[in-house]
Amino acid sequence: MNIAVCLKQVPDTSEVRINPKTNTLMREGIPSIINPYDVHALEEALTIRDRLGGRVTVLTMGPPQATDSLRKAISYGADHAILLTDRAFAGSDTLATSYILAGALGRLMDREPLDLIFCGKQAIDGDTAQVGPGIASRLGWPLLTYVTKIDGIDPTNQVFQVQRKIEVGREVVRCRLPALVTVVKEINEIRYAPLPDLIRAAHYPVEVWTNADLGLDASQLGLKGSPTWVNKISTPPMREKGEVLAGSDVAPAETARILADKLIPHIVVPNR
């Protein structure tokens, strides 16, 4: 099983500040991490490789500093890492990003066939959940989003089965290979890299591809190739503080009754 994992380096904070003038994220001084969902995608790919053999290749598009994230993926056990970096890529929206990643994956497949591509369900900075599906669409591959579990893989018959999280519950899907999978956090527990792997990963020579290597259509890259623009970003108003009922050791039943009376009008608890 040869597997590719697409990673995004994102700012590590839930309180990213927004520049009110330009409506862009202020990344100054905020450390970068691998998008947490993507780490779960990588973990799943490594687990499958450890069981069935093959290679795991990680790719990221970003500035040269994204090398840190790729080395981290190597320390977890990825076999190979490729950085897609080019001034022409800067400012890409999800349409252009999926174009570039699909192009890079295509080039990778000239070298070695791929059976699976893993992505996180979305990135914590943009929250669009569009790049994974965009890549699948551009490659013409089946797409399985919000996967919570891989039930099994049958390499001989080139099929596998997964469970997907959907609004009303869980969907079990059988699908042919190759396919693209996006994962949620529940799919696995992240491993902790052993010390020797961490030290060696610090010396890993990341392979770098620019557009000279990919030969993509310049009009579909970066700002030029990005029809999306951000019209306005605003901070939602703070939610009001909830009401706290002082509990009583003496009469918990009474406190419960008060709580029920308060909840019933809000149709949280059905009044039966």
């Binding site: 590590d12 000239d110 070695e112 020797p196 030290i199 060696r200 010396h203 392979e207």
Partner: protein, 453 residues
């Protein structure tokens, strides 16, 4: 589908797995001491592993906010050309704070705005990230999110030698000829070696600091400096509610760093929370206008080892050296810590480079580190102020009564009310001596002069 021959790059790709896991030196902690040590070691051709527990070098590093130019320049020449710095400091002020009032002295020299500068306001976390990149460029191996929990020892018939470290990761043991402990205040590893006893609350201060955002222009107006220049204020007296400690305000590019450091034993005796002390200082009439309209962006805290000369542990043993805060190398009187840390890291590294040449990392060779520190400003300054902490801790008048008397005297002198100056002087003299006997004051001043002078 075509499968191509592997390229040279692919062949290199496979080779990284064979990188030998052998190091000559392991540096524990990527703070000021560890970064300076690792940089000097790597430049000196020593195979160095730098281990940091935080997510990135700098993520755990906190200081008041002043980086001294000279010692930093000694380690990375002309660092100011590319390092992330805030403002070169051209004016330093000392404020003696009493209730509602301030007696102020200061020194300003625009010459400090020229190379090689004197000091800069910085954010340690940003500066250290930059410096860590220099360390890696110099050839050291850096790993993060890894905690050193113990040592590996070589037991020989006659002696026990540190031979590496144990980390919290799987297969987490790694060997080296020498280990440099640069893990900061309250060093577990130093205690593990039995070189430092448990510290007492009288040896440690706690520093709390806020970063407050203000427009650049407002900072320059309020602190009376030219565009891009910076100023510092050190505040004594009411700033720490009369406790042994100090407050500070430093100008950054578009923020102020404001904080207080107070001895932990005094805090616990007073029952005060350090945040409350800082909050009160922020409300002082002399301080409040400097901060007006600012928004608090960050809140930080740090333990400062202020045990002084007498609490400096043994700084070396077979295969191990101790630097920076872990070695108690802090000059509390002059609020200097990170420059002592960086310089001690550099001196330790130079000792290791020599030990490598001799092929001997025993304490006999490593003792040279102690000698180097003794010959440098580091132990000379700590020795000079060896009794300062004891004097100031046992004599609260310096932080309570004297600021009040300074206020009273200054107020009398500066108030114009047709009272003859001679009468004013008499009045001041009478007030001062009635609050503390003349012989007591003379004794205080003599001791202060003996200790600090």
């Amino acid at each position: 589908m075509t499968v191509q021959e592997p390229t040279q790059q692919q062949l290199n790709q496979e080779r990284w797995r064979d990188v030998p896991l052998e190091f000559e030196a392991i540096v524990v902690g990527a703070g000021p001491a560890g970064l300076a040590a690792a940089y000097t070691l790597a430049k000196g051709g020593v195979k160095t592993l730098l281990i940091e527990r935080g997510d990135f070098p700098g993520s755990k590093n906190v200081m008041g906010g002043i980086l001294y130019s000279y010692p930093t320049h000694q380690i990375i020449p002309d660092f100011w050309k590319e390092a992330p710095l805030e403002r070169p400091i051209v004016e330093q002020r000392a404020w003696l704070l009493a209730e509602e009032s301030v007696v102020s002295i200061g020194f300003k020299d625009p010459g400090f705005y020229e190379e090689p500068y004197n000091n800069f306001s910085v954010f340690r976390s940003r500066f250290d990230r930059w410096m860590a990149n220099k360390v890696v460029e110099a050839g050291a191996t850096l790993i993060t999110e890894t905690v050193v929990t113990d040592f590996l020892f070589d037991e020989r018939a006659d002696r026990r030698r540190v031979a590496g470290v144990v980390t919290n990761r799987e297969q987490g043991e790694i060997r080296a000829q020498v280990v440099l402990i640069c893990e900061g205040a309250n060093s577990i590893l130093t205690q593990r070696l039995g070189l430092q006893e448990d510290l007492s609350p009288g040896d440690l201060a706690v520093g709390v600091k806020e970063v407050i955002a203000l427009p650049k222009g407002a900072i320059e107006d309020r602190f009376n400096v030219e565009k891009g220049q910076g100023a510092t204020i050190e505040l004594i007296g009411e700033s720490t509610q009369g406790m042994f400690g100090m407050g500070w305000i430093y100008t950054n590019k578009d923020t102020l760093s404001i904080g207080v450091g107070v001895m932990i034993n005094q805090l616990s005796r007073s029952g005060m929370n350090p945040n409350t002390v800082l909050e009160k200082m922020k409300q002082h009439p002399a301080v409040r206008p400097l901060l007006a309209g600012g928004e608090t962006k960050e809140y930080l805290a740090k333990i400062i080892p202020e045990g002084g000369y007498h609490q400096v542990p043994k700084l070396y043993a077979h295969g191990v050296l101790i630097c920076g805060d872990a070695a108690m190398l802090v000059n509390g009187v002059h609020r200097e810590g990170s420059n002592l840390a960086m310089t001690s890291g550099k001196l330790a590294a130079e000792t290791v480079i020599e030990a490598k040449k001799k092929g001997d990392f025993s304490s006999v060779t490593l003792k040279a580190y102690h000698d180097r520190l003794q010959d440098s400003f580091i132990l000379k300054d700590l020795k000079k102020y060896e009794n300062a902490s004891a004097l100031l801790q046992s004599n609260p008048h310096f932080f309570t009564l004297y600021p009040k008397l300074a206020r009273y005297s200054a107020r009398e002198l500066f108030t114009v009310d047709n009272v003859p100056k001679k009468d004013k002087q008499k009045k001041i003299w009478h007030e001062v001596t009635s609050r503390r006997g003349i012989w007591n004051i003379a004794g205080d001043m003599y001791r202060l002069w003996r200790t600090l002078g």
